[in-house]
């Protein structure tokens, strides 16, 4: 008997020590990682930081971005159609006009002079991922499904990497930058309280394209298209400018641009802030070898025309092409020095392969977080105190067992959450409350059973024994039912619902252990060594 009891006590102590150790170790680890933290963390800091608090408790920024994968298709289509054009010239295929018909499609007109076999062969070798159908004198090209998928995939992956690079320059501790679903990225920055700056850095940089200006600038679309008979010419688009038109001082200016970009942010090698010839802030950039080739050919063919620098689908400036430019250039526009700095930083950290749109944005100010924690803690402590008091008043000595078991339950839960780096959020606290409710319930079930047995006239020893064994099936049932449903919530739920499920699953596992195993051990310690038990304090 006594050996069995001590075995149980040893196991409980091991679990207790392991939980505390896991919590403290996690606290030490997290305080050390925190770049902004104090230089010599105290034990108090370690204990405070054992569990990662969610943004709703700590304050910070939560963003959900969508990668505009269509942008990436567009780049691919630009690339493919310009390659086709070049090959046409180089190999004299006799192709007609190459027309962009959509973001991810284009048509090529063929005629009797066209070498169709050569064209088919060229497509096979050079335009992998593209499929085409012949429709009379036109070949209609579209992106094949597997290619679309891999392009989108790559774009999202690259966007995640790029955002990570940028966030790293901020020195945020424990940022979360993760892909979600097909084209979404979740960014969580605890403790950051400057949403505007963060959003600018992550996004505004986004998508740089250099395009040929066909007409403009002018203050409205109609005048822009006048020389084209009011019709939008093929392979062109109207893009809004960022500057105010000096002549008409109208609020907006428009440019007519060639749809196909000469080079994009993808071709960028490096960028740094500099100044233009009037000593205004600007950004100088250099291109990778392949991009430089393309840009060289493009500029030499278009000398004296204007080149639009399009950032996030807005024309920043449209300087004249004076000479062939190949591997470097300068972006001018009405930049403040700060803006030029940020633009260079973001271009440098890797250009985004596609535009980003904010789908969701949550900021919790540090004051609110602090307030939530203080009040939540106060309420939880008071609630726990009330529970403890009631248990002791109602079940006397046995009530203390339950209180011990509950405290141990909370410690195990915190230890496990800390060990797995789980985040405690508001719904997590809900899970915590349900756990405490169910853990106390298990004890109540057992105690009520023991009382029933005593009323039926059983000896105290048998009553305790029977109380535990009879309540056990019920406890298993209640716990399994809840865990089963929590598993589904974990699998299918999003953010907060998931956090709830995690706390609940861990808490229930701990509760099975503490309510049944631990409180029985305490009973054994109390009554197990005596030959005869006259009375159970319950």
């Amino acid at each position: 008997m006594s050996q069995r009891v001590w075995g149980r006590v040893a196991l409980i102590l091991v679990v207790l020590v392991a939980s505390v150790a896991a919590y403290v170790a996690s606290g030490v680890r997290r305080v050390k990682q925190d770049v902004t933290g104090a230089t010599t963390p105290s034990l108090r800091d370690d204990l405070r930081n054992g569990i990662k608090l969610g943004l709703d408790l700590k304050g910070g920024i939560h963003l959900v971005l969508q990668v505009q994968t269509a942008d990436a298709y567009k780049v691919e289509a630009d690339d493919a159609s310009s390659r086709l054009n070049e090959e046409n010239k180089a190999q004299n295929l006799g192709l007609g006009a190459v027309n962009r018909t959509g973001p991810d499609s284009f048509t090529v007109s063929v005629n009797e002079n066209t070498d169709l076999d050569k064209l088919a062969d060229l497509v096979k070798r050079n335009l992998s991922g593209w499929q085409y159908t012949r429709q009379g004198t036109e070949w209609v090209f579209s992106l094949a499904v597997p290619a679309r998928k891999s392009i989108a995939d790559e774009a999202v992956q690259q966007a995640v990497e790029t955002i990570r690079n940028r966030i790293d320059q901020f020195g945020v501790s424990e940022p979360v930058i993760a892909r979600e679903g097909n084209d979404r990225i979740v960014v969580q920055l605890p403790g950051v309280d400057d949403p505007k700056r963060v959003k600018d850095i992550i996004k505004s940089t986004a998508f740089l394209e250099l395009k040929l200006v066909l007409a403009g600038p002018s203050s409205d679309r109609a005048t822009l298209l006048q020389s084209y008979g009011g019709q939008l010419p093929p392979d062109s688009e109207v893009v809004e400018g960022n500057e105010v038109d000096q002549d008409t001082s109208s609020a907006k200016v428009y440019y007519l641009l060639q749809k196909t970009a000469a080079v994009t942010g993808r071709d960028m090698k490096n960028a740094r802030p500099s100044t233009d010839q009037y000593n205004r802030p600007a950004v100088s950039f250099s291109l990778k070898a392949e991009g430089a080739d393309k840009f060289g050919r493009f500029t030499s063919a278009n000398i004296d025309k204007r080149l639009a620098i399009v950032l996030d689908n807005k024309v920043q400036s449209a300087p004249r092409i004076n000479d062939k430019i190949s591997d470097s250039g300068i972006i001018t526009g009405s930049f403040t020095p700060d803006r030029a700095n940020d633009l260079a930083l973001t271009l440098r950290s890797g250009a985004l392969p596609a535009g980003l749109v904010y789908l969701e944005e949550r900021t919790v100010g540090p004051s609110l977080g602090l307030d939530s924690i203080h009040k939540g803690l106060l309420a939880a402590l008071l609630g726990a105190l009330l529970v403890f008091l009631t248990m002791v008043v109602y079940y006397r000595r046995s009530g203390f067992n339950a209180v011990l078991a509950l405290i141990l339950n909370a410690i195990i839960l915190l230890g496990v959450l800390a060990q797995f780096g789980a985040t405690l959020t508001l719904p997590g606290i809900a899970g915590f409350i349900l756990t405490i409710g169910m853990a106390v319930d298990s004890n109540v079930l057992i105690f009520e059973r023991i009382r029933e047995e005593l009323r039926e006239g059983k000896t105290p020893k048998t009553a305790i024994e029977n109380g535990f064994s009879k309540a056990f099936a019920t406890i298993v049932d209640t716990h399994v039912t809840t865990v089963v449903s929590a598993l589904f919530l974990f699998q299918f739920g999003t953010g907060p619902v998931k956090g709830f499920a995690v706390t609940l699953i861990v808490g229930l596992a701990a509760s099975m252990f503490t309510a049944v195993y631990v409180s029985k051990t305490i009973f054994m310690l109390e009554y197990g060594f005596r030959e005869r038990i006259e009375h159970v304090s319950i």
């Binding site: 789908l359 009040k375 939540g376 309420a379 508001l426 049932d477 589904f488």
Partner: protein, 407 residues
Amino acid sequence: MELFKDTNIDFLGVKWICIAGSCILILIGVVSIMAHGGLRLGIDFSGGTQIVLKFNSHPEPGKIEKILKPLNIGLEGVQRYDEPSKDEVLIRVKQQAREGRDITQEVFNALSRALNPGAAAGRIDVNVQGRDTLAAALQNADPDNVAGQPGEASAAHYRAVGEAIVAHRSELGLYRSPAEFAGIAGASRAVQAWLGQNTVIGPFTLFSSANVGPQVGHDLRTKAMWAIVLSTLAMLAYIAFRFDFKFGVGAIVAIMHDTVITIGILSMLNREFTLVVVAALLTLVGYSMNDTVVVYDRIRENMRRSRRDPLSKLINDSINQTLSRTVISSGLTFLVVLALFLLGGEVLNTFALTLVIGIIVGTYSSIYVAAPIVVIWNEWQDKRRLAAAPARAAGKGASGSKKSGKR
């Protein structure tokens, strides 16, 4: 101490009254929801923007509304938030037709321009700017003269100072006068003087803001729904496997009963339906299920012990036997939730309220709804079996009696 000793209350005797009462409650809830034009969805589900600001003096929602109206952002309303003494205001803006507009920033800028002329002169607003901006400005000005040392030390030094400035602001709620700069732990006299000269103290600070686009709102809605439906089905399956199908039905009816009534009461109180409420509903589903399973377990145990008693007596005895436990457990959890409701602050308030309602309804339903459903179902089955018995005896033989022999 014992409150319930050998009780023998006829719970099932009033089953029809209770079911009628429940139906009326459900009906009232449904009517309330319809009268409100559907559930009042929070921005998690409906999309839109919600901003909570804390002011340094009594804010006037009407005045704020007037400032924001010309922005044409689809302003839904400006109202007081939390206790009036806290000077907090909640601004709600409708979901935008197009993704990508930064409503929070537009609101912020407009209020800043109208209420805080000092900020327009290019001075930093200590109540609005984050630690990074403060740190950068301080590093530029370098009031502590640390620039002579290597660059990294200077950046780290001012970052810590920036953090201290924001931390002190969090403790205060917001800065009200330059005298409060003296309380910033970790800021030297020079920094405090610099703050006094080069910053303005704006009239408000950002407590929280959330902006949910239409796509995310839709996704959150469907995902939350699927999570609830699937987890409920999983519980039904487990209970059907562990007990009997009719027990499963009783449990699910009880859960739906609790959820619908709770949502109905929330609607009557004009509370918003948010993700946090969903978490609270999940909590109470788990809780109510727990209660129900305890009663079921006892019924099963009693069924094994005395098979001869009619089911309704067995069930009534089982409810009586577990009554003490039901009341104590629910009462304890109720205490915790009540503390959370009264003291937990505005953020946890609706969450706690949902649980306060839910625990009362859930406890009631596991006594008066879940078990009676099993009895009613059973009586109905018996009747059908009796009616079908002659036909069956002629046809298939004894398949009916075989089934009733199970458990």
